[in-house]
């Protein structure tokens, strides 16, 4: 089966690669383009560690056909920091010790980023809802929820 070209903006840069027609976006980002921020956790849409933003909306890259991303804006956790400067969301995750193994963190940050872009002042319930598709097996979620709430109240949080 011939490979197909696909081109999109990844974290603000134009990127192009060739994929199998049935390749998912996760494999394309990781093995095609070397962006290892989204992780493989299930390939089923049940864990959230592969969450990316497609045109600003959270999407599971493992369930997304790569060819459907032609011309779209893809954002991953590796594009969050502004050079060496962390976003308030990232700083809040650090301050709250909101990661242990760190495997769910890129997906969590991405899910939180989607929430704060839409709703800069979320309630706790809204935070809980926003990360409800993201599994964390280490932290018990509490520090993650606290970090997102802190980031929301931080000056400049809107950038997140």
């Amino acid at each position: 089966m011939a490979k197909l070209p696909v081109q999109f903006r990844l974290n603000g840069s134009d990127r192009a690669t060739f994929v199998d027609p049935s390749s998912n976006l996760l494999d394309t980002l990781r093995r095609g383009l070397g962006d290892f921020a989204p992780k493989y956790g299930c390939g089923q849409g049940t864990c959230g560690v592969c969450t990316v933003l497609v045109d600003g909306e959270p999407q599971l890259s493992c369930l997304t056909l790569a060819v459907t991303c032609e011309g779209k804006q893809i954002e991953t956790a590796s594009g969050m920091a502004d050079g060496p400067n962390l976003q308030p969301l990232q700083e809040a995750f650090m301050d709250h010790f909101a990661a242990q193994c760190g495997f769910c963190t890129p997906g969590m940050l991405t899910a939180a980023r989607a929430l704060l872009a839409r709703n800069p002042n979320p309630t706790r319930d809204e935070v809980v809802e926003a990360i409800s598709g993201n599994i964390c097996r280490c932290t018990g979620y509490e520090p993650i929820i606290a970090a997102i709430l802190t980031a929301a109240s931080a000056p400049g949080a809107r950038r997140a």
Binding site: P21, G45, L60, T64, D125, V128, G133
Partner: protein, 273 residues
């Protein structure tokens, strides 16, 4: 190996699907891509639809039509569809809802398919297109009955009458995990009232049978009654009529049968779950 065909029109997609037995529609990808990733689906053609009609919503008239490619996130973004927000929010987390479509939910295997349960309570019709012909509408219940046989054509939209009083549509999903878990069971009830009495009740369950089902016994005993304690008691008595729940990883058949009347009673009484 798998190929992907992108179709700019619904009729093109319908044509491919009726002509090629190895062709399969891919909507949001939440069902199909899992089968691809896990190696259950390795041959054939994935058919993708980019026709704007596929994602069209007409929500303001008396008759509501939602394209099969409309996502749960689109439902949640629509103020006119507030009465469907509870079932839409019952589907996955935010990322799943960006992707999962109404059409896909019609094909989700039990205990999934909670949005379809709400559509059953709205007496929805499914619009199907077979081959390059024009569409035909079919009651959702009939569509579901024939779903496993396949070959019904491409689902292009669902239609239903907009509830006169949106607050008369109730939805409750009972899950072990909060806020996102799959169903132990789900209940949708459309209970239009006319001078204080239920008229043309439509009650539907998810996960209480191999397919989302109508609770005809409950509908019957509620018809023409005020929603008072005796009526609720009668509804609970009739709740299990026609139920054939499964035992699965989430709950046993016994447990589903035990708690369905409880949750139905609480829903009808306006009590929290």
């Amino acid at each position: 190996m798998l190929d992907v065909r992108t179709c700019a029109s619904l009729s093109e997609a319908a044509g491919i699907l009726s002509g090629d037995r190895q062709a399969m529609l891919i909507g949001g990808g939440t069902l199909v891509m899992r089968d691809v990733n896990e190696g259950r689906l390795t041959e054939g053609t994935l058919v993708r639809v980019t026709d704007p009609a596929y994602r069209q919503m007409s929500v303001s008239g008396a008759r509501v039509e939602l394209g099969a490619g409309v996502t749960m996130a689109m439902v949640l973004a629509s103020r006119e569809l507030a009465y469907l927000h509870a079932p839409a929010r019952g589907i996955g987390g935010p990322a799943i809802r960006t992707m999962a479509t109404i059409g896909g939910n019609l094909f989700a295997a039990t205990p999934y398919g909670d949005f379809t349960v709400a559509l059953l309570a709205l007496d929805a019709q499914v619009v199907l297109q077979a081959g390059y012909g024009s569409g035909r509408a079919m009651p959702l219940e009939d569509f579901l009955a024939g779903r496993e046989r396949g070959g019904q054509g491409l689902v292009t939209a669902v239609q239903f009458s907009r509830p006169q009083n949106p607050s008369e549509l109730f939805f409750r999903k009972i899950a072990r995990v909060k806020p996102k878990g799959i169903s132990v069971l789900s209940i949708a009830a459309h209970l239009p009232s006319s001078s204080g009495r239920v008229a043309q009740a439509r009650v539907a369950y998810g996960a209480m049978a191999p397919l989302p089902m109508r609770a005809r016994g409950v509908e019957r005993v509620l018809e023409g009654k005020a929603l008072d304690q005796p009526a609720i008691q009668a509804a609970k008595q009739a709740a299990l009529e026609g139920c054939r729940p499964a035992t699965d990883a989430i709950a046993s058949e016994w447990y589903r049968r035990e708690i369905l009347p409880v949750h139905l009673g609480r829903l009808l009484a306006g009590e929290p779950r």
